[in-house]
């Protein structure tokens, strides 16, 4: 009998069409728990050094955690692969129903390897697991694809669908996987890997249950977590305003990127905030499976060119990257353009980064149409189509991501290419928040705000270990970043929701995990698991040739002072970056080049990996 875990992985080799169940080894459960942990271990073991992300050597995994599918509040799943955008390990998280359905189908994860000769989709039902012809679906957007597949399956199974759109098919390097219902494995190009494998969709319907070891004690732990969330101010804010609640904060603090990250605030920010969105379209709260928060808002645009469009809240990241960063201060337009990214199957963070980069090229007369200006939704709409379909020279170029596009354009364009390790950075400026800069530099999948979010302490006023944190200090930020990375990587094994974790204590997570699985897990064990994973992912990235020189920030953040906000005039120069990095490597037990030292690996039980 397996508790928490289902005890089995589904392995599908698209090259020869073989499908098999692989038992989940006990030591893998204990050392890596689930989600990110499984992904780190399996990717390191399965994908050979130097493998092309688009080749059949790469693996694409949909992974769950031991609490996914239970009443533990707001658990999710993740997609893991070698990123075609960065060449690093990438783990991309998604809410919704899809991850839970993988558990109900009897699996802890689905591992896809190889490449199909023609478009297929994977169908998992209680009766069978099979690959089916997807030629009729090739070319359809994500929403139509999911609707067709649900229709084909009928109401009896009511399956959950994960699929790609045209961007994934065309190997746009920041293509996403759209997971039922309209939640995304957005970052790092997981959808492009799926497209390269000619896998249009994964359709899952299960009839099994997730069994927990101690039903009564587990529910006590769940109720404890719910009680913590109940009056937590962050949770209440997510419920009432969703993630765009951060728009006014980021704007005021000079953290909101505008005009391709040149600015840190945006004059029309109040036209992207929760009040503006509510006025234009929100009708109700929506929640991912088993989530008691409901940070998503769904509604129907009531004015403008896209009147009648039913769509989701414009998340903070999309408001920042498709709105402020492109100079568009119109909720209606940003809601539609974000919807378009979802439909075409592209990460709206990277899309906003790529289009912002292009608009600056055009403004400077270096590339593209000089009539293209920031703030024009019609130009952006046209570009998004061209990128997703690679249907023009510019679209084809931008589909490669900011890093590759800037190198190919030349003429100084790399100076305003904003990315870390090739991943377009999200909607949080770092010139007034050095710890956030370090988090970007050391993010395992490149420039990412989800591996550590020190802004909460640097700017948000939260105390770190009972002490206030000085915003612009360089010293001490490495400790915050490395410890947050460890803890959050630990929670990413469960698989936690980034927003719910604001309201759930480490002790509650450990209790829920212990009562569900029967293992004795403490909150510090979770951080140790996280540290093990962080080092294993570092080993993967080092094996791919990454090191200190890649742990860097774009020129815009290191040499152009922030023009606005309370930290105006500041930037993160090379010297500051170097200091933070030295401190960070020392705390991590890595050498000066950022390679984990033997003693560190031994302490974490990773000795055998070298």
């Amino acid at each position: 009998m397996s508790y928490g875990w289902m005890g089995s992985l589904l392995h599908v080799n698209l090259s020869d069409g073989s499908i098999k169940d692989v038992p989940l080894a006990d030591h893998i459960r204990e050392e890596y728990v689930g989600g990110k942990g499984f992904g780190a271990r399996f990717l390191y073991d399965m994908v050979p050094e130097g493998a092309d992300s688009f080749s059949e050597q790469n693996a694409l995994m949909f992974l769950t955690g031991p609490l996914t599918g239970t009443l533990a509040p707001a658990m999710r799943g993740c997609a893991v692969t070698k990123s075609p955008l960065t060449g690093t390990f990438v783990d991309s998280y998604f809410g919704g129903d899809f991850a839970h359905e993988i558990k109900f189908a009897g699996y802890d994860g689905i591992i896809i390897t190889g490449r199909s000769p023609s478009p297929v989709y994977l169908s998992v039902t209680p009766e069978s697991v099979e690959l089916k012809d997807a030629r009729q679906l090739w070319g359809l957007d994500t929403f139509k694809t999911a609707a067709r597949l649900r229709e084909a399956a009928g109401t009896h199974h009511a399956p959950k669908v994960a699929c790609i759109g045209p961007a994934g098919e065309n190997k746009v390097r920041f293509a996403l996987i759209n997971c039922d219902p309209n939640r995304h494995a957005g970052r790092g190009g997981c959808g492009a890997v799926m497209g390269a494998k000619h896998l249009k969709a994964v359709v899952v319907a299960g009839s099994k249950g997730v069994r927990v070891k101690h039903g009564g004690a587990f529910m006590e732990a769940v109720n404890g977590a719910l009680a913590e969330m109940k009056d937590n101010p962050y949770i209440l804010a997510f419920r009432s305003d969703g993630t765009p609640g951060s728009v006014p904060f980021a704007d005021l603090e000079g953290l909101l990127p505008s005009y391709n990250y040149r600015g840190g605030s945006f004059k029309q920010a109040n036209r992207l905030d929760p009040a503006a969105q509510k006025a234009e379209f929100w009708l109700r709260d929506a929640a991912c499976f088993s989530c008691p928060i409901g940070c998503s808002k769904v509604g129907m645009l009531k004015r403008g060119r896209h009147r009648g469009l039913v769509t989701d809240v414009v998340e903070y990241e999309s408001a920042g990257m498709i709105g402020a960063n492109l100079g568009i201060g119109d909720t209606k337009a940003v809601a539609y353009l974000t919807y378009l990214c979802d439909a075409l199957g592209m990460d709206s963070i990277s899309a906003g980064g790529v289009v912002g980069f292009y608009l600056e090229c055009a403004e400077r007369g270096v590339w593209g149409n000089p009539d293209h200006r920031f703030g024009d939704p019609l130009v952006v709409e046209q570009l998004l189509f061209e990128v997703a379909h690679r249907s023009s020279e510019t679209g084809d170029l931008l589909a490669e991501g900011v890093k590759r596009a800037s190198v190919r354009i030349g003429r100084g364009a790399t100076d305003w290419a904003v990315h870390v390790k090739g991943l377009e950075t999200p909607a949080w400026g770092v010139r007034g928040a050095p710890g956030m800069g370090l988090a970007y530099m050391t993010g395992d999948r490149g420039g990412c705000h989800q591996r550590a979010f020190p802004i909460l302490y640097e700017v948000g006023g939260e105390y770190w270990k009972c002490n206030p944190v000085k915003r612009l200090d360089i010293e001490g930020k490495a400790e915050i970043v490395s410890e947050l990375q460890n803890y959050l990587a630990g929670l990413d094994t469960l698989v936690k929701c980034d927003f719910a974790q604001y309201g759930i204590s480490a002790g509650s997570y450990a209790r829920m995990l212990s009562e569900a699985t029967g293992l004795e897990v403490t909150s510090s064990d979770l951080s140790t698991v996280g540290e093990r994973i962080w080092n294993l992912v570092r080993l993967f990235n080092c094996r791919e040739g990454f090191g200190r020189q890649h742990d860097s920030l774009p020129l815009r953040f290191t040499s152009e002072p922030l023009p606005d906000g309370p930290a105006a005039g500041h930037m993160l120069d090379e010297e500051s970056c170097g200091k933070m990095l030295d401190e960070y490597y020392r705390l991590r037990g890595w050498d000066e080049q950022g390679y984990p030292l033997p003693a560190t690996l031994e302490r974490l039980g990773l000795r055998q990996s070298r």
Partner: protein, 130 residues
């Protein structure tokens, strides 16, 4: 006995009610397909409707049971687990599709004795007893 009902304007589609219902039935298993209720997707992601047993006046489930295992007790239709043969006719007869088979017997909503677990699990007040 009061009646349980679902409100689509409040429902977020989180399905915690389904997990709580299945856990109430089994003690330690979470399986939405063992829930004695369902969440209906009203299309395009715009809304969800919680569908619960209506404790009908003219209960098709009871009327279709070949062994008369479903009886009304103070306004609540209850399946006698000893008499039920698990034939599944009541599942097919119920237009709301809120009866399931568990361990070879049909099971349906009995309002958890007056304190429905689904309602307790709902963080959005989308289920109410009236």
């Amino acid at each position: 006995m009061p009646r349980l009902s679902g409100k689509f304007d409040k429902c977020t589609g989180c399905k915690r009610c389904l997990l709580a219902c299945s856990q109430g039935l089994t003690g330690d298993i979470f399986n939405p397909r063992l829930a004695r209720m369902c969440i209906q997707d009203l299309g395009a992601g715009l809304a969800h409707r919680p569908v619960v047993c209506a404790q009908c006046e003219n209960a098709f489930c009871a009327a279709s049971c070949p062994v008369d295992a479903i009886e009304n007790s103070d306004g609540v239709w209850v399946i006698d687990q000893d008499r039920c043969t698990g034939c599944g006719l009541c599942l097919d007869a119920c237009p709301l599709r809120v009866i399931v088979i568990h361990d070879g017997r049909a099971v349906k909503c009995d309002l958890c004795g007056g304190a429905p677990r689904c309602m307790d699990a709902c963080a959005f007040s989308a289920l109410e007893l009236a």
